[in-house]
Symmetry: C2
Subunit: 367 residues, 2 copies
Amino acid sequence: MIKTGDRPLRPGDTIGILGGGQLGRMIALAAAPLGLKTHIFCPDPASPAFDVAHTHTIAGYDDISALDIFAASVDVVTYEFENVPGPTASHLAARVPVRPGPRALAVSQDRLEEKTFLQAAGIPVAGFWRVDSDEAAVAALEEAGGKGILKTRRLGYDGKGQILLRSAAEARDAFTRLGRQAAIMEAFVPFEREVSVIAARGVDGTLRAYDVAENVHRDHILKTSTVPAALEPELAAQARQMAETICERLDYVGVIGVEMFVLPEGAGGPRLVVNEIAPRVHNSGHWTQDACQVSQFEQHVRAVAGWPLGSAERHSDVVMENLIGDEADRWEAILAEAGASLHLYGKTESRKGRKMGHVNRIRPLRA
Amino acid sequence: MIKTGDRPLRPGDTIGILGGGQLGRMIALAAAPLGLKTHIFCPDPASPAFDVAHTHTIAGYDDISALDIFAASVDVVTYEFENVPGPTASHLAARVPVRPGPRALAVSQDRLEEKTFLQAAGIPVAGFWRVDSDEAAVAALEEAGGKGILKTRRLGYDGKGQILLRSAAEARDAFTRLGRQAAIMEAFVPFEREVSVIAARGVDGTLRAYDVAENVHRDHILKTSTVPAALEPELAAQARQMAETICERLDYVGVIGVEMFVLPEGAGGPRLVVNEIAPRVHNSGHWTQDACQVSQFEQHVRAVAGWPLGSAERHSDVVMENLIGDEADRWEAILAEAGASLHLYGKTESRKGRKMGHVNRIRPLRA
């Protein structure tokens, strides 16, 4: 059955979700109170999202017949990770609306495409150079002023697939060390802090940006997001504006995460540069679950369902802390803490560096 | 396998829930973020709670072998309705902790037991008389001052199984009209308004009462709950105290709903009388989902898991409105409303008088 389906969903309809991790799980948990069912498609039989979804399919993303059955059983498809294979996305998109759309996926899957798109949209980014050889890496590092990060253009996350380079000597065989995959050199940005904006765009073009979060990473993994961020009001407004511009330029539908660096005052350049966009709900937006009436997960469901977006206003100040590896063993102490909301992902196996849950600690809004 | 299991649950453990309606569904949705699985046991194949639970069993409450398998697969049992058959509860309780315990069930399943318990606990109630014949009904009505409500002692909800009586003539065959079931006559209480308190008690005896809600019924079905209730502070404190006393006297574990009448000032008697208790999460506590950090559903999960209770504090004022029958068709307008949170139950068939969902409308706390 081919669905044309640009109609808004109705209660009782089903959202198909590619990926069965914690993000898919939290989307499913947000869809249920809106009367929507979810169908999770994931190759991993131990997917935490299966526990809370109406239906699940265990199959590879290249399993065409499984994808066909999936497409016929859902009213819209979304995803919890940006590395959905292109052929999977286009196969599905021919059968059912896929939101966010193919352009957002294409741009965010390739760091060179992403930076090129951002630059063309007038969004400040760090200097970047295409790298396809060891020689190109050396040349790019020189242009970058002697300090840069060589990254594979595709895949790679939480610091994987990248090398910090501080000298021509280090650059000499860096491309080879990265496995001779298509790469990008990014100028090193001496940032003061990292922030992010979670924004959403509806099918009708409505934009809603949440307040800016200030993020702290540990071992390349997000550790905390604090809202409000310690940021001048003009910069905060600029950050939200940039996220909205990105949504518009991508003709985006859904929630997006936009990571930015804040540069020191007085350096002459822009104060904010965009580091990365993620076409999905984002770890640095988990604080919205307990500090806003409408969480990023509900907002994403509303957007992909073709429904009106909700308010992105915040009723509390908040710090989100990721529980990584055995940190989730602290669940009992967290439950006893006033103002703390525990969110565990139902993962059976705790591994070093694995995100097992998070906690949102709220307090009244500062006047 | 017989479980002794008075240990607190651990993330990954399973809560068994008897009943698959919206209350079971919302308990399951609250259990998931705490890392707990749920197993719903319900005879109805179209149970809305199945959509969001890890496991479900479709079987009758008297199906001993299904109950045995259920008991062996869960770490604690709770329920979403007070009319769990006694034999079902005791069969399960011999195998796995059942929370709230058998005393709460016994008391709340029989209006005469309930009123007798409340009176013994020093809680004001309307006058009541046991009725086992037409003659007894006439005599009781006279003692009640000529205006009373004859109710079956067991079952009956939303106004079913009760008759308002205003004269001896009406009383004459009332017991027969009720089907000659064991009954109770309750004196008619000229109440000003109806309020309720949602309270919780943990395994460790901790008590937490939420703020008093003011309830409006329509056609004997709850229509709105407003918090805060328009109630003098001393009366509100008294109401919460009464709910806590009831929990203690029942050695209760879990969330309880206590419905009360507010009587006019100057009549000489008590200003608050308890009408009914429900040993479960309660429709008049749905407002906690959007006006508190810890909803009644999370609180119930914490309690039955043997975990520390959360705060019962409120961060917003709120009005909860039930969506009954085709009122749920207004979902689209509600989604577009600022400050409104929609909760649909995923029921496929809308019938007159059927609770299909609710909406919580929040606004900032009045100073």
